[in-house]
Amino acid sequence: MTDQDLKQATLDYAVRLGDDALILGHRLSEWTSRAPFLEEDLALQNVALDYIGRARMFYGYAAELSADGRTEDDFAYLRDARQFSNLLIHELPRGDFAFTMTRQLLTDVFNSLYLDRLMQSTDATLAGIAAKAAKETRYHLRRSREWALRLGDGTEESHTRMLRAIDELWGYTHELFELDALEQQLADAGIGVDNAALRPAWLAQVAAILEEATLSVPEDSWVVRGGRTGYHTENLGHILSEMQSVHRAYPGAQW
């Protein structure tokens, strides 16, 4: 690969990671004023803001690499669903509180492993973003783990809701551990993360937490994929239409 190819691949990679963070951050922000109680409302907003901040850092780096005048806003607000490359698990509707916290648990465990590797990236900017994000994720995981324990080992109702959430989410977790050619190239170059290698550790951690929460890992009976190639669920279009509406109605508006 030439340096130019590698630069383009790194740009695409940064956009992917930015998309993951932005879409999950947006989903979490939808809880604002709707959380079970005030303290949890603020806590969820904090996590959402961590993700939006993460998206800005990744998009900012992509914009810098593009060197064609694009900014973070171009990536966030001026692309359509087919151009978004977030993993599908991040765009699923927020569901009930059990669903949201289960998704957080599954992705927090993943992110904690992923970011630890990305911190070792030969790309100093990606490594720097990962170092900052890893601290946030350690706290996110502490929260989502505790909620899994509270709800899984809580009432019959909360237990049932957790079981349902895990079943609904499990088929979307496989995509977390798949690499396409671009990600494989970057992993080989020491820039990206070989996420396929993370699955055993992820599964062990998730299984241990679920077991402690009197829940269990479901069977791998179905798999959905497509996020990285722009094939999304119908949910992404709805997120984008809401998230991008102001920017598209008032292009270049500032406050």
Binding site: E39, A43, R142, R143, E146
Partner: protein, 94 residues
């Protein structure tokens, strides 16, 4: 989970070397959760380096009715203040 969350009082130390100060209260299920919510509710703008939480029910507070017997007796004991004493000439600064 309980139907009603417990009330906790939150104390935050702004910087090393300072005391923990009472900053407010919040609802949580247990100490662990209270500590995390204290972090999320009261340290969003880097207000602290250490947090204490305690169940409000565990605080034993003086009562308004007791204030006469508790606090008035010290009003007529000025000798308990350092300013009551005249410093000897030999002591220049204190």
């Amino acid at each position: 989970m309980k139907d009603q969350l417990d009330l906790f009082e939150v104390f935050i130390r702004a910087r090393r070397g300072l005391d923990h100060k009472h900053v407010g209260s919040l609802h949580a299920e247990d100490h662990e959760q209270a500590l995390e919510y204290a972090r999320d509710v009261y340290t969003r703008r880097s207000e602290g380096v250490s947090i204490w939480v305690v169940r409000s029910a565990d605080i034993c507070a003086s009562q308004e009715d007791d204030s006469e017997s508790f606090f008035d007796p010290s009003d007529d004991k000025p000798y308990r203040h350092a300013t009551y004493y005249q410093l000897p000439e030999a002591v220049k600064n204190m």
